[in-house]
């Protein structure tokens, strides 16, 4: 069922068994899982089917933390998320992979690391998430895809390995699942429904209702047995902090943890690599679309597997490294020559010939390497509230994103590991250039191709970027003094309020987060079914 909240009589009380706040990947996934469950589900969506500028501005806030690209850019909160049905998947390209076992483990060199659930615990939900996102087989190792004909594995050692991402392609949850949600008998999708306050009972127990406002001036409330906050990694903490009528510090904030440990993925160029093999030996890295068949797939469905390089868990532990995924952008001949001329004193032909000679390889090829890295947990990296409010009277968020004191050094050490391992395996040679962005990356940040970023080889001066992945600001931990939500993703101090977003990740890992968001949403849906049905 579909209801435009603007058309409801003022002060209407919506009643449901479960109220899901946010119609993005997490909210839609939970709602779908509960179709036919017998539960009445209210799914509250701030927007409708397309981006609306006024609604989008409800995300607006202030960024006062780590400047991007050494101050060339600042993080823009108003457009780092999309606020209409499907959420940020509306501009998501779809790259997915599960987190690695080491991401769930306690690492003594990464304070407060360790998830309270293991990769094995999450594995069945990852497999189900693959179906939700319409990926191919649950295979993320290079050997499998190499055997399927996608090209040889470039490097596979005890220190550096080739992983594989999968993408369905552009996969907008709102478009794919709109019909299913709207036609479901027990799910009601409310559009233009902005939750402005979560109201807890006077006894400090559970949520009583939520206040919903529209930009047109309407106001209603929703009551339910349980609520799920699925609005993303900045707006979730913001709403918890702003809902402070009964709890002055905000909901779930008894230990001053809501909004803290906010993490992003650190992006940085790694440099250029020259290989002693022809470009055809790198065909796993460009990736290519391949047809996929199975239940629920369109006749012309395809997926794209895409290789990347990553340190092994063994190497990470041995060297005290945080995770990093390295994209390998294989260059064509013209780009290859241009890049060597740009980055090296050598004549392009000379260095290509050199690498082939020294590695004894069968050809010459080159790639631009870009890193997406894990960051460490910083308590002062946090979401707080501004005094200024948005158009609906909710305090705007202030984001003070901080990276750890060693996080830039971690980038340098990771790049060094790749350089050494490509050499040890006789694969190629690497020139670290962690500040030299490709023209495509500059364009992504809205910069001209000839932009020169302030950069030197000192890791402390790397002009880092971000992945627009908002994580860890309501961390999962069974100990309420260490985390905001418990292992069921329920806020410790509220018996009927759950969080479903990357905000519950205890550590950010290096992988793209959406598959894990969906896996955790599926796990939460199972929990809610067992609790509410």
């Amino acid at each position: 069922m579909l209801i435009d909240t603007r058309d409801l009589p003022r002060d209407t009380v919506l009643e449901a068994d479960l109220c899901i706040i946010g119609g993005g990947a997490a909210g839609i996934t939970i709602a779908r899982e509960l179709i036919g469950s017998g539960l009445d589900v209210a799914l509250l969506e701030s927007g409708e089917w397309e981006a609306d500028p006024a609604t989008q501005m409800l995300y607006d806030g202030e960024s006062v933390g780590e400047p991007l690209l050494r101050g060339v850019q600042l993080m823009n909160l108003a457009n780092s998320r999309l606020r209409f049905f499907g959420g940020t998947t509306n501009h998501w390209v779809g790259w997915c992979r599960p987190y690695d076992p080491i991401d769930f483990e306690v690492r003594d060199y990464l304070p407060i690391s360790g998830w309270p659930i293991s990769r094995d615990d999450l594995l069945p939900f990852y497999e189900r998430a693959g179906a939700v996102i319409q990926l191919g087989p649950f295979e993320f190792g290079a050997e499998y895809w190499s055997n399927e004909g996608l090209g040889p594995v470039l490097v596979e050692s005890d220190r550096l390995e080739t992983g594989v991402l999968q993408a369905k392609g552009t996969f907008k949850f709102g478009e794919v699942y709109r019909s299913e949600i709207v036609s479901a008998q027990n799910v009601t999708l409310y559009t233009w429904a902005n939750v402005t306050e979560i109201v807890t009972r006077g006894d400090g127990g559970g949520v009583e209702d939520v206040v919903i406002k529209t930009l047109s001036g309407n106001e209603v409330t929703a009551q339910a047995k349980a609520f799920v906050l699925a609005v993303g990694g900045i707006d979730g903490p913001r709403l918890l902090l702003a809902s402070n009528a009964a709890r002055p510090a905000g909901i779930g904030n008894e230990n001053d943890l809501v909004g803290r440990y906010f993490c992003e993925h650190i992006h940085a160029p790694a440099g250029v690599a020259v290989f002693g093999q022809p470009t055809s030996a790198l065909s796993l890295f460009p990736g290519r679309s391949i047809p996929v068949t199975g239940d629920g797939y369109a006749a012309d469905a395809t997926i794209t597997p895409l290789g990347f390089l990553r340190p092994t868990g063994t190497a990470m532990k041995a060297e005290g490294l945080l995770g990093f995924d390295t994209a390998v952008a294989v260059l064509d001949l013209v780009a290859m020559v241009n890049q060597i001329e740009r980055f090296s004193a050598f004549e392009p032909a000379d260095f290509l010939a050199y690498t082939q000679a020294i590695t004894g390889g069968a050809g010459q090829s080159m790639a631009f390497l870009s890193i997406q890295a894990e960051q460490s947990l910083v308590a002062d990296s946090r979401v707080t509230l501004m005094e200024e409010t948005d158009a609906l009277g909710v305090p705007k968020p202030r984001l003070n994103w901080q990276v750890g004191p060693d996080d830039r050094q971690n980038l340098a050490r990771g790049i060094d590991l790749m350089a050494r391992e490509l050499g040890r395996q006789g694969v190629g040679r690497l020139k670290p250039e962690p500040g030299q962005y490709s023209t495509e990356m500059l364009a992504f940040f809205g910069l001209d191709a000839d932009t020169t970023l302030p950069f030197d080889q000192d890791p402390e001066n790397y002009p880092i970027g971000i992945g627009f992945h908002h994580m860890c600001a309501t961390r999962m931990d069974p100990d309420p003094t260490r985390g905001v939500v418990d292992t069921d993703c329920r806020i410790h101090s509220v018996d009927n309020l759950y969080v479903s977003s990357a905000s519950v990740f205890p550590t950010p890992g290096a992988a793209t987060p959406t598959m894990t968001i969906v896996a955790l949403a599926l796990r939460l849906a199972d929990h809610l079914k067992s609790r509410l049905v």
Partner: protein
């Protein structure tokens, strides 16, 4: 998306992923349950080919000499002909062509250098000390 401009995630990921659409050879039909369909045909887009044939100017010796010369220029205190001959004794007294033929015999030492982090930066490229010394020496040989 950054700074209010409408650059899509797709543009970004394509940018960092490189020429994603460029390589395609044999189509493999994948089932979600695994396995492939060997009856699938082939696409019309060939994979990028090796480029050695299209950059005709440099021979392997050209490349090694170029690297060796830069190494010597960057580390003059370590790269006198005597020091290089002592560092890579197996190549001393040879012509450059003869030394090039011996390079494969250094492969184990070169890999060992990388394993032991016995590396040197030459024009910013991370090379093993052994390969840099060998290149330096070859660049002095007739």
């Amino acid at each position: 998306m950054a700074d209010g401009r409408t650059i899509s995630r797709r543009q970004f990921v394509v940018a960092i992923a490189g020429t994603a659409a460029a390589a395609a050879a044999t189509v493999v039909v994948i089932s979600r349950n695994g396995g492939s369909d060997p009856t699938a045909g082939s696409t019309s887009t060939p994979p990028p080919q090796g480029t050695s044939a299209t950059i005709p100017e440099a021979t392997p010796l050209d490349g090694v000499r170029a690297v060796g010369e830069v190494y010597r220029a960057e580390y003059p205190e370590d790269t006198s002909p005597e020091a290089l001959a002592a560092a890579v004794p197996g190549l001393s007294g040879m012509t450059a062509e003869q030394a090039m033929a011996e390079l494969p015999n250094l492969d184990e030492a070169i890999r060992g250098d990388f394993a032991d982090a016995n590396v040197v930066s030459v024009d910013g490229w991370i090379l093993s000390v052994t390969e840099a010394q060998a290149s330096g020496l070859i660049s002095t040989l007739p």
